[in-house]
Symmetry: C2
Subunit: 288 residues, 2 copies
């Protein structure tokens, strides 16, 4: 429930090439205005599950994009019944979107999107209804060749691929030319896992192993472990345990119950298990 | 479209006995928190039509009321297809509301609610899809008898009803006892008409004649009269013309297009035709 000025779930994941929207609770389009997020840049929307706090803002966003004369395709990845809901709401308003809304029904774990730079997978989490996590993984970035240097050291073009991959070059005199001399580094490939509403669920550990940033829900503190379990939610301690077992680099916890006004205890509890933990706070950007 | 910190439409009408919600755009439940409106007090919701800016916030409000353990009946008056939308959204979330949601489909003009104190009528307005206006009319309040005085002047109980209605009493000596001496005044009965999205439409004039407060949409300024007409919306001048022809006491204009950041010109334009006009501004209360 929205409370203490906290809105329902929505996240923007910004990569070099994409602006992904992950979940879209009520009010998301207004919050985007507030935080100056250009919604026209969003081409891919991912909805984890069909509880209202994760999707009630979607239909408003979709129709506003239409009123904004969007013409670019919009890809929507979501549990299948969402399509019927959207179609029905468009039908009763006698409205046609001026762009193509391409619906991708989430059905099996695996890759749901890939291009030259990134792959996106969905995986099952453990909630009261069908619910999906999403794993965004940039492809390994190749090192960049320095044109002047490859000429200077007479590297044949047939060796360029090896250079991209970081290998050293051995010249005609058997001298080793270090790769660092011939190429420059690029931003390392990053990964982000979004574990939407879920009870403590160890099967996800394998999927999210070693990611740079893990978002894991943490609806309750651990003294309410039983309540969390009965509602298929997690405690801060459980989220941190998953982070630790998966060896991720950093943990972000969120989806705090409206019964908590202050959130300090969430951070304290999680940090005892997994130190590099941050609270997912509204309107905040986290650099991966 | 939400813009310039203006949210989609929702109004609370507060009477002595009721808190009515009229339309419920996205974000209404959050705005209610902001303006400290106790949503548990709402027992009747009226939805004018099924364009998203008038109802996308309803499902979130309904489910939040459920999470708040509401048990009182909630009456919803709306175009019929809304029922299917709500049912579908509850079904996919595998949720049951802990209270009864009583759906009243708007089908013909006339009284849709009445109790001892108030009647509520719906009437057709002229929009691109089925759309309803609502007229809230308090029943004439009866004057209150002063017990000491009716004893003193020996008024028989059979005359009490006439006293309630304001009639003078003639005693055994043919002396006229003024009603004001025997009774006290109560708040006069008030009326409020809500004319949701509509083009200029004279047939509503008869329905709303003489109301204390008329809310009439005014999406555009009059230099865009043709645009307004083609979209079944009104200009400020047209809203004021309706107010004038209906002889209402006061006019409130709202539903301003997102293309306008400042609203001063709306007031100026309307006041030229109908002076007692106010802008419907977010978070503002208007005393009827």
């Amino acid at each position: 429930m929205p409370a203490h000025n906290r809105h329902p779930t929505a996240q923007i994941l910004q990569t070099l090439d994409h602006t992904f929207l992950v979940d879209c609770g009520e009010g998301t389009q207004m919050q985007m205005n507030l935080y100056k997020i250009r919604r026209s840049k969003i081409n891919h929307v991912f909805i984890s599950h069909l509880h209202g706090d994760h999707y009630f803002g979607l239909i408003g966003l979709l129709t506003s994009l239409g009123l904004n004369h969007r013409t670019n395709d919009l890809h929507l990845y979501a549990p299948e019944p969402l399509k019927e809901i959207i179609d029905l709401q468009l039908k009763v308003s006698n409205a046609n979107l001026p762009y193509s809304l391409l619906f991708h029904s989430l059905e099996t774990e695996g890759i749901i999107y890939a291009d030259k730079k990134i792959t996106i997978e969905c995986f099952n989490v453990n909630h009261r209804i069908e619910c999906w996590g999403f794993l965004f993984r940039e492809k390994k970035n190749l090192r960049k060749i320095k044109p002047g240097k490859v000429n200077e050291y007479k590297v044949p073009t047939s060796f360029y691929e090896s250079l991209h991959e970081g290998k050293d070059f051995i010249d005609a005199n058997n001298k080793v030319i270090k790769n660092e001399l011939l190429t420059s580094a690029v931003t390392p490939a990053k990964s982000y896992a979004y574990c939407a509403d879920t009870g403590y669920f160890e099967p996800i550990i394998d999927k999210i192993k070693g990611v740079d940033l893990l978002y894991h829900e943490s609806t309750y503190l651990h003294n309410l472990e039983e309540k969390a379990m009965s509602r298929f939610h997690s405690t801060a301690k459980q989220a941190a345990t998953i982070a630790k077992k998966a060896g991720v680099k950093k943990l972000l916890i969120g989806h705090f119950s409206s019964m908590y006004e202050k959130l300090d205890d969430f951070k304290t509890e999680a940090c005892e298990i997994f130190e590099n933990t941050d609270l997912a706070e509204e309107g905040t950007s986290y650099i991966i």
